[in-house]
Point group: C3
């Protein structure tokens, strides 16, 4: 049994989904782990992780629209506005999605389904540099 870790830096340009399935795949390849478990962890509270359909851009547009509607930036009851109108909705969207994902590895590959991609979900409007940690354990 062995394990490895890698830090991934993802630059973001505003709210949206940023796919990094290929980075995760390359990390698993390099690790040499044939059977095991990949964990992905997001080191932020205003960005999060999501496994979603990687084929259709409309899906991503509708997903963004849903999250905009469920917690509008101009919600009058929001008190925490020091860092701008997108800050508190960002924390809420992070709470509604994932900080960590766990994906089994079989035959040297992540056991993702055919349509599944791994995304960083950026909830802030300004440019950011986001850190994701990948950890693999197995043999």
């Amino acid at each position: 049994m062995q394990q490895q870790q890698q830090r991934l830096t993802l630059p973001t340009q505003g709210q949206g989904l940023y796919e990094f399935t290929e980075d995760a795949r390359a990390f698993v390849d390099r690790s040499g782990v044939s059977s095991g478990l990949l964990t992905v962890f997001c080191r932020h509270t205003s960005a999060s992780l999501l496994i979603q359909e990687n084929a259709d851009e409309q899906v991503q547009r509708d997903l963004m629209e849903f999250f905009r509607r469920i917690i509008p930036e101009d919600s009058p009851w929001i008190q925490h506005r020091a860092e701008g109108p997108d800050d508190m909705p960002a924390h809420i969207k992070s709470a509604l999605t994932q900080s960590s994902l766990s994906i089994p590895i079989a035959d040297g590959r992540m056991a993702l389904g055919q349509w599944q991609g791994i995304y960083l979900f950026e909830h802030r409007s300004r440019r950011h540099s986001r850190e994701v940690l990948m950890h693999v354990i197995g043999e």
Copy 2:
């Protein structure tokens, strides 16, 4: 330290919660792992995983009703409708719940609480065959 994996195929007949706690328990039993970690992973973007109360059917009915209300199938702003009115809401419900669950194993058993059951949450209306991957590591 050892690890094992098993693929589970779950047939679904429309939207709802499909419990597979017993399948997970049987897998942990067969693995012989006494202390360790179970990971469950759903290989789909229109079905997801959930740990919920396994005692009361009303809880499941109300849970379904909540998700129907938070993202109605006839929401006029939804653009992605190629696969039917339940498709985009399915992706959103998946985003709001889990792709993976991690459950510690102690004394040869999943450390679930008294009322916790493990469910596949099917978000599509038609029949499907869903694949769940179980991975255990421990000793």
Copy 3:
């Protein structure tokens, strides 16, 4: 490779976020694991886990307000009311957040970001004693 587990009992006094980052840190310290993976698991269906900003109390207040608004306790369509008006909303809030969290460990420390704290999210109004299981694997 080694692993360890610890059960943590967290007393709660009504709905809110209860931070236990220090308990997790102490557990990782005692385990002696320098590189590995921490898993935290909540053994309840009316309380859950959340990684959130640990600096600003307004963030927590707004987060609570969002969850109160998204599933009001007096929603007329709720059928499951046997255990009080906060019971079914508690199950729904649990479904929308996490049962388990996975956090990589590097250099003997959880790889949390600067503003990330680990919280038990209590959804019931009465006092409870909540059980969280921590599992670490690594070397």
